[in-house]
Symmetry: C2
Subunit: 288 residues, 2 copies
């Protein structure tokens, strides 16, 4: 099965693809979220994996835009949450004491500033376009740097050795990814599933949104997440993307969706799918 | 009164500042949303104006992050929505027929692709970091370009002349901005106001969110907009930012807020403020 994903290689999105399909051989990075989705839509790929939300920096708006734009034609077939950790990596033979210049993306340099100040007080920092680009540049012998800060995945990808793991200030950062496929039936429930709904309604009546959400809570379905998204055809009005903690095979959710359809202009199911949390993240959460 | 805003000069955020305070003389651009907010927090500025949402590209996550991080210490004191239009501009004396190379940000070049193909079929395009940077480069005689695509504001700012107005494919694009100040009482209602609430609750009970939102609809208060924001201290759990179409001076909203406090872990008012829609946008909406 061919996977399109938000590149470049060696970033956290590639880790998400590996988590979903450890033995996938055909994984192709695309430069933007719309480009990865277009690769899926045009039929050349079976899945597109793109980031939905990071626990520190919030939603990824282009992904919401794609979900809304292609509702009814694309379907979410899985979500996976992975921990986002930064590692210091260098060429084989480089010791921590040798590191004078560290290259990474500004966001990662910011997240790892304290660690670098403590362990590499005399090192300069150099900016790259992405953490993967930093690792690639180091591996390619590009700029005169000794070490890169990137996802652990990048070390394996670019033949570098990890000098220090988990050097970011936030040890609990994580990113949620969605896997998309072209339309079709949902897989059966796995026991830990979510459903994403797209609700479109004129907001002139105060109770519309709470009325339709009430159909869920009345049937013991939890709203896990909700986002407004601007309607392109109606200024100042919104779609609502809602994630609930149940598979559509759960009778309470199916009933609620039927009832909700009565109260709104349109309601699309964007998919019922397994909600996968990486074992490492799960373990930390249990330990917290 | 000193205004900090998301720069550079000549962008739509500067237009928003002008709309809020036409005669403001001390307006200072900052390179990022957090930097503009920090300028306000540190006491050197009375207001910070930052983008909240664009009708095409969705929310601006760093702005949501700042609203959540500083809840209780900062207050929204106004929102303003302005139309986002692109203009082709050049140095005095340049005619449309002279234009061979057009410089702008890739997003603006994409939005204006059709117009350029029709009116400047032989022109090349050159990429800049922002639309304002494109106008500045042209005005400064930088790269060998003849015209820039930018906000109309940029023409005045950089001494350029507009050759063509409103050349983007989407004529109804708009951006909403928030004006922030340090904590203090809200201004009285203007007749067209909004209130932003930050709700934090454990999502284990299915009805919590719909229960609290129901307190609003029961009192004829409309939910205009709602966004989940990840809680930094509780993995997989969320804050909810809710905008309603009323001032807190409206008794129904004040009552609803009191009732909502009973059902959640915490509820902060981020401000009750005038909701300003630029006259141009308003006129187009009425005509639509």
């Amino acid at each position: 099965m061919k996977y399109a994903y938000l590149g470049p290689e060696g970033t956290f999105t590639e880790s998400a693809v590996r988590r979903l399909a450890p033995s996938a051989r055909q994984t192709v990075p695309f430069p933007t979220v719309p480009a990865a989705v277009e690769a899926l839509r045009s039929g050349g790929f079976a899945r597109a994996v793109i980031p939905l939300e990071n626990s520190v920096s919030g939603v990824v708006p282009p992904t919401l835009g794609e979900l809304v734009a292609h509702a009814g034609r694309l379907r979410i077939d899985a979500q996976v949450t992975i921990g986002v950790t930064f590692a210091l990596m260098a060429a084989e033979g480089t010791r921590l004491a040798d590191v004078r210049r560290v290259v990474s993306h500004p966001h990662a340099l910011g997240q790892c500033r304290q660690w670098v100040a403590r362990h590499l007080p005399h090192a300069d920092t150099v900016v790259a376009d992405s953490t993967a680009a930093a690792a690639a540049a180091l591996a390619g012998g590009g700029p005169a740097t000794d070490a890169a800060i990137a996802a652990p995945e990048a070390a394996a990808r670019y033949g570098l050795r990890v000098l220090a793991h988990d050097i970011g200030a936030r040890h609990d950062a994580m990113t949620r990814f969605v896997s998309l496929r072209r339309s079709g039936p949902d897989e059966p429930p796995t026991g830990r599933d979510r459903t994403t709904l797209l609700i479109t309604s004129d907001r002139s009546a105060p109770g519309v949104l709470t009325g339709v959400l009430g159909e869920l809570s009345r049937r013991q379905v939890s709203i896990a997440w909700i986002q407004s998204w601007p309607r392109q055809t109606a200024r100042g009005r919104y779609h609502f993307l809602v994630e609930v903690d149940q598979h559509i095979a759960y009778p309470g959710l199916a009933e609620a969706v039927d009832a909700m359809r009565q109260g709104v202009d349109s309601l699309s199911l964007l998919g019922s799918y397994p909600y996968i949390v990486d074992r490492e993240v799960e373990g930390e959460r249990a330990a917290a």
